[in-house]
Symmetry: C2
Subunit: 404 residues, 2 copies
């Protein structure tokens, strides 16, 4: 059996995702689609709208055969670290292909870019360093450096978020020497950052989350598969909320106000005196968006600061993350869900796996599992105390979801 791997957040699962799953299988002619899905906190430094369990159900209902967890140590990271983690997990799962969505839709464009970047690495790094000295944010420094290299016109631009991720997936495969073939699917219609829901059946995840935040669930019904939409509604009914940063703001503020700057400084991604800025802002801000707006400077992107907020909330230190990321291979693979086809694949590929496939986190040891448990408990904090207790106690014994 052949497998194609995809890297996903499904926050929430929409028609664009469904399109990619179908295309990934079609292009590669793979038997199974394996998604590595971010657990509780996402790359933009946000809590997932619904739990990983509900998002796993969405995925299984809409064409994915196996869902494994992208743990906290990888899910809340800049593109490079995020991609390295995701690809190493997919490689351990034995995928033959990966597939990712892109504005280009042409894999040669990415191969071209990869070669170009390899040839110009020294100059590129120098430009990035110089640009950072000018006070640019890291993404701006890199995209400017890219322009400064003056690539020929048919080289893909590194300024688009999906190009950056795609580039890093392919670079990770190359750097780690995996024999995985990369493929890409042309993204349809919606642009990643679009704020408005389109009239068509495809909308950006950003516009969908915007509608959710405004409490306008019915507005997104036509851009999501029925099963996914029902699961979203059911989560809200069961847990009385869809998770947004604002649900965690009291905890974040409390955390900052109760923590001396000498300890804030030890939090992962807290650099260059940001601890003082965070401390001052936390005394004045009255909501999470207010906090972010007051914290924002041109030196840091919104996403970078949201990731910092996430690490403060989860109390993740530089030392802990250094230890976690120093592992040569993932400490374990956590299975979140599968269908019958997925189960057959797992049985067949069993002998090739060198990393333990965990079905209950109680069996996972080590720093990855330690940080994952903490992040999960904190993710559950806004739920009512009774539900929280139940969910916390179940997280150790919960079996993967099996779809038939």
């Amino acid at each position: 059996m052949k497998a194609v791997g995809i890297v996903v957040e499904y926050n929430p699962f929409h028609n664009g995702h469904h399109f990619q799953v179908t295309k990934a299988r079609q292009i590669t002619n793979a038997d199974v689609v394996i998604a590595v899905m971010s657990a509780s906190f996402l790359q933009r430094g946000e809590p997932a709208i619904v739990s990983k369990w509900f998002r796993t159900q969405m995925a299984l209902a809409c064409g994915v055969d196996i869902v494994i967890e992208l743990p906290y140590i990888y899910s809340t990271q800049k593109a490079e670290t995020f991609a390295n983690g995701a690809i190493s997990l997919l490689a351990e799962m034995g995928v033959n292909f990966i597939n990712f969505g892109s504005e280009s839709g042409n894999i040669q464009d990415f191969e071209h870019l990869l070669t170009f970047m390899r040839q110009n690495k020294v100059a590129f790094d120098r430009h990035v360093k110089e640009n950072m000295k000018l006070g640019y944010s890291y993404p701006r420094a890199t995209s400017t450096a890219f322009t400064q290299l003056n690539p020929d016109c048919d080289t893909l631009s590194l300024t688009e978020p999906n190009n950056i991720l795609g580039f890093h997936y392919m670079k990770a495969i190359q750097d780690q020497g995996y024999s995985i073939q990369a493929t890409t699917t042309l993204r349809r219609q919606a642009h990643y950052h679009d704020q408005q829901i389109s009239e068509g059946s495809i909308a950006s995840a950003t516009s969908i989350r915007q509608a959710i935040q405004n409490g306008e669930l019915s507005e997104i019904k036509h851009v999501m598969p029925t099963e996914s939409y029902q699961l979203l509604k059911s989560y809200k009914q069961t847990y009385s909320l869809l998770h947004t940063w604002q649900d965690y703001y009291d905890l974040l503020q409390y955390k900052v106000l109760s923590t001396p700057v000498t300890h804030l400084r030890m939090i992962y991604e807290c650099e260059e005196g940001l601890e003082y800025r965070v401390k001052n802002v936390s005394k004045r801000a009255t909501s999470f968006s207010d906090w972010m707006q007051q914290l924002k400077t041109k030196r840091y992107t919104w996403t970078r600061l949201q990731r910092l907020a996430t690490h403060i909330l989860t109390n993740t230190t530089k030392l802990e993350m250094k230890e976690a990321l120093s592992q040569q291979t993932p400490e374990y693979i956590r299975l979140l869900g599968m269908n019958t086809l997925g189960q057959a694949y797992l049985n067949q590929s069993k002998k090739n796996r060198s990393v333990p496939l965990i079905t209950k986190p109680a069996k996972a040891k080590g720093i990855t599992a330690f940080l994952e448990e903490r992040a999960t408990n904190i993710y559950l904090s806004p739920l009512s105390s009774e539900v929280r207790r139940k969910e916390m106690s179940e997280q150790f014994s919960r079996h993967p979801i099996i779809a038939h």
Copy 2:
């Protein structure tokens, strides 16, 4: 002008307190009554029901002339440390007398006890140590040790909370060599720990807090001075709550779940592996009282564990508290309120004070002020975000209350 000092929490101010203020002035014939009042968190390890500002107003409306702050580093401590801090602040204020309520009402009983304890110190300490080894809580170990010394029948018992405090006030005066005369007022009717509101005009603070927790404010109207009762009602109206531990439970649980045991262990009063017990209980408990009930063992008193909870909530470490308590004299005296008479006393006694009298905390430096600011910010956490912001920003510039 002569002054009498009293040590108070006024949580809230009731008729028993009013009786003591009147008696303290009468017995000592002092011109002014100076209260050193616990700030935000109290000796039993609880948040004060209303802010120190409202409790200062209660005090000034009911016969107290000057209110100074007993900072966090002293207010949330066992009797000995609590008494040492309070007495040293009153001594710096130049009081000639102190007065405290007791079941005995006879100061000779306390002098007797003090002499007896001095003479039997070595044997007493040995008994305490042996009793602790048997797994007794510290208060039980000391009261048993006291009985083991077999004092003659007219020696006051060290098993009553008010006797213990009175004993430690007098011991602090003696140990630190202050020339302050101790006096005591016979407590009327209510016993400290009574749970039921009595029909008379005096009720215990415990029974009053119980009624408040049950939302039955009208039940305690007859046991409080009118001004104090009005202030209590007004606080609830203005801030939409009266502070109880339950209002902080989500923060406490979050704090424990986000903190590794290696750091929990560094929290003040977290001894003998309590960090593991705290960690486990926090995953299961659904309310503060549930948390406490699950945490309780015969080794520790309820009060001792509530103080631990307070230190966890405020993130106060052993190292910080060690530094704070190593100060020879208080770092500052913070004035919370006064009337005209109090003002006259402050002017007259100015030249005798060696410790700065602070009217705004922005002027206070050092570890005491640092920990006080943190505790205050956390005390304010359950208020709505807008009110919280306002109160946090005002705490640095707020002037003492002046009553006319």
